[in-house]
Amino acid sequence: MGAAPQITPSERVADFRRTFARAEAEVGKVIVGHYDVVRKTLTALFAGGHVLIEGVPGLGKTLMCKTASDALGLSFKRIQFTPDLMPSDIVGTQVLTEADGRREFHFKPGPIFAHVVLGDEINRATPKTQSAVLEAMEERQVTVFGSTYPLDPPFMVLATQNPIELEGTYPLPEAQMDRFLFKVVMGSPKPEELREILNRTTGATMHTAQSIFPPTSAPSEIELLKALVREVMVAEPLERYVIGIIGACTPNGPGAIPEVSQYLRFGPSPRGAQALMLCAKVNALLDGRVSVSYEDVADAVLPALRHRLLRNFQAEAENVTTDSILDQATRRLKKPRA
């Protein structure tokens, strides 16, 4: 699957922007506000990543994920994570079936087999169950009883977690956190947004999102757009800038600022740099450009890196957030000259 040779590059870029804008508009029909969360979710989809959405209950996290998949015309499955959820409940299992007098094991796919999988309250499941999603997220395949089953592209996991109800939860291990391209934080709606929410949800008219793609061609269309993202060019100074950001956030690293060394135990992994670059590329395309700028990278720093920094005890006790550390690090980092 590659770029269509018939259309010009400028048309492809324009098509990407149009598609993205239409998807945003469709989600916006249902979800009031949260423009940044919606944009980052769609960005992660076109970048080929997964999103961890954090917010208190009732903000519309689940609805937003469902609406996004509806707008893109992709299949959607929801898994409510509970402490007694088993891995087989997610990836599927072998069941014994009888046909023509013969008994055979057949693989019954779990809910992970969908384009968009919503893992609701993912931190309520045990680590064993959480780990069942790891292979699917990274390898885009699942292995059950020695048999590997690929997942249809595009595959995206949207997970939600509640930051306040920590009783009886199992915080995601760092290995799993690192597999999310973005972590977006959903804040409370503004008063005017809340009024609009009331109008939409308590009135007689129910708002729904329509798919922007024809029902069958949505996955292939999205894959074409994902390929376009990978074609966006990056200058060598920009690459050094991304590397500099990663270095600045690594404790006791060569370019680490004092706050990083003081408050962090571990910095971002190379996956963080990949996430930065992919998000920057999508940002460039959304701006109509085919090359990444410093602004594109800066816009991606918080969602791409905030969940990859591991704070130490002092930072937790002093309530120093990773966002503030990242803000300090990027502000002090000089943009490299060519």
Partner: protein
């Protein structure tokens, strides 16, 4: 006519060329002003020294002036070399295709599209050597062309002179301040010889302004004498010869204008140039020679000048008289200096004739303090015979003479005050305690300790009335409430029960 096709790479190359020269100019100008300042100061050091001397009365020794000029020249040359080095380095550093692209990008606000294009076409970068241009590259090229359509490197990158010069101003100011401090540290009050040379120089300057060739000749001689006086490397004899030449020239000129005057002048100044003896002669003999020779000459000359020329009032004659006096004084200065140097150089060779001799009468004249015969023969001394020939000289006895400065413009010479000295031990009347200026007390060298002490018990000191023991205090309960509450991170919650 079709518009010229813009090649972004060529535009970036042109911008790089311009940026290189801008970098050269900027780097060069950073040290050019200090270099120029150092060289200008080195060139102007002579006039500055002259102005310091003329306006403030301080003099910078020629040797130090030369050293300072050398330092300034060296600083200027070093700054110029640094200038060239910085310019060369700036040229090398600015010779960067990607950097030039970045500057162009900033100028056109290209959101790093120009840089991206440059990094993909510049074969010096590893990214370009990978040579994997995506299908989007033509679009990037097209957008770069659109950006560069309105780009003019000459307008975007103008030669800037003011800022580098302004940046170098502190260096220039520091240089001037350091030079001023060094000059202040090196300047000295002028010596008597230098002062005299200055007077001679001023007189020569006045003579040189006159149209007469004789005056010009005289001025050149006087200038040569003044130069010789200020030259510390010349021996005193040579300085004296130069002064004698000037004096001869002066006499020649005077003879030409007034034969009578010249005749008298000849008797006055002829003996003043005579050489002295070895300096080991007795003080009495030296005093005689001195009084007769120099005192007579100067006294007559001056009286003539005043008596004959003042009534007429010609300024040149007055000048000549003053000039002659100045030359004479200069000779005296040199001779005094030479004598002092001689004395200083031979401190332990038994020249007892130069020291003050103790006598029985404190008012009795001792041997002359003059160091040698040469100096005494030339310096006017208020001796008996000399005093008799001075215009205003009275019959002062050496004992009660109070001294005086005299009016040197009128040919008078300072008269030395009768010297005083203190008694030596055992000399004169017995000293009483009221005559003493200081009293010296002598402390006993050793203190004899008393051995008759006795031990006295202190019965009045306080004593404990309650029995006590070294037992630990009773532990008190800590019933204070904590002052603050701290949040416990979730990961440690399970550890707290």
């Amino acid at each position: 006519m079709t518009p010229a096709v813009i090649n972004p790479v060529e535009q970036i190359v042109a911008a790089r060329r311009r940026l290189k020269w801008i970098a050269v100019v900027r780097a060069g100008l950073a040290l050019f002003a200090p270099a120029l300042t150092a060289l200008v100061l080195a060139a102007a050091l002579g006039p500055i020294g002259t102005a310091t001397w003329e306006r403030m009365g301080f003099v910078l020794a020629p040797a130090r002036l030369g050293a300072l000029r050398l330092v300034l020249l060296a600083a200027g040359v070093v700054a110029l070399a640094g200038c060239a080095l910085l310019a060369w380095r700036a040229y090398r550093e600015a010779d960067d295709f990607l950097d030039a692209a970045g500057r162009v990008d900033d100028a056109v606000d290209g959101h790093q599209e120009i840089v991206t294009l440059a990094s993909l076409v510049d074969l010096a970068t590893p990214q370009a050597q990978r040579a994997e241009r995506t299908p989007l590259f033509p679009l990037l090229w097209q957008r770069a062309v659109e950006y560069l359509e309105r780009f003019d490197s000459k307008r975007a990158f103008a030669f800037e002179v003011r800022r580098p010069l302004r940046r170098s101003l502190p260096i220039v100011a520091a240089m001037v301040l350091v030079l001023a401090a060094v000059a202040l540290a090196l300047v000295r009050p002028p010596t008597a010889e230098q002062l005299q040379a200055r007077k001679l120089r001023a007189a020569a300057q006045q003579l040189a302004d006159s149209p007469s060739p004789a005056n010009k000749e005289l001025a050149s001689k006087i200038l040569a004498a003044a130069d010789a006086m200020e030259n510390p490397k010349l021996p005193p004899q040579e300085k004296l010869e130069r002064l004698a030449e000037a004096m001869r020239e002066l006499q020649k000129q005077q003879q030409g204008s007034s034969p009578q005057q010249s005749a008298r002048n000849a008797t006055g100044s002829g003996s003043g140039n005579g050489k002295g003896n070895s300096g080991k002669g007795s003080g009495q003999a030296n005093g005689q020679g001195n009084g007769q020779g120099q005192g007579a000459g100067n006294g007559q000359g001056k009286s003539q000048g005043q008596n004959e020329q003042n009534p007429k009032g010609p300024k040149s004659d007055q000048q000549i008289v003053e000039l002659r006096n100045d030359i004479s004084k200069a000779q005296a200065q040199i001779e005094t200096g030479a004598g002092a140097n001689k004395n200083a150089s031979k401190p332990g060779q038994g020249e007892k004739g130069n020291a003050l001799k103790p006598g029985k009468n404190p008012n009795e004249k001792g041997p002359s303090p003059q160091p040698d015969a040469m100096a005494q023969g030339k310096i006017p001394r208020p001796d008996t015979s000399a005093k008799g020939q001075m215009p205003k000289g009275g019959a002062n006895s050496g004992k009660n003479q109070k001294g005086g400065h005299g009016d040197t413009h009128l040919g008078e010479f300072p008269v030395a005050e009768n010297f005083q000295r203190f008694y030596k031990p055992g000399e004169g009347a017995p000293i009483e305690i009221r005559d003493a200026r200081y009293v010296v007390f002598r402390l006993p060298t050793e203190v004899v300790s008393a051995s008759g002490g006795k031990i006295v018990l202190d019965t009045n000191r306080p004593t404990a009335s309650v029995p006590y023991a070294n037992v630990p205090l009773k532990a008190e309960r800590l019933d204070a409430t904590p002052q603050e509450r701290q949040l416990v991170p979730p990961r440690y919650r399970d550890l707290i029960h």
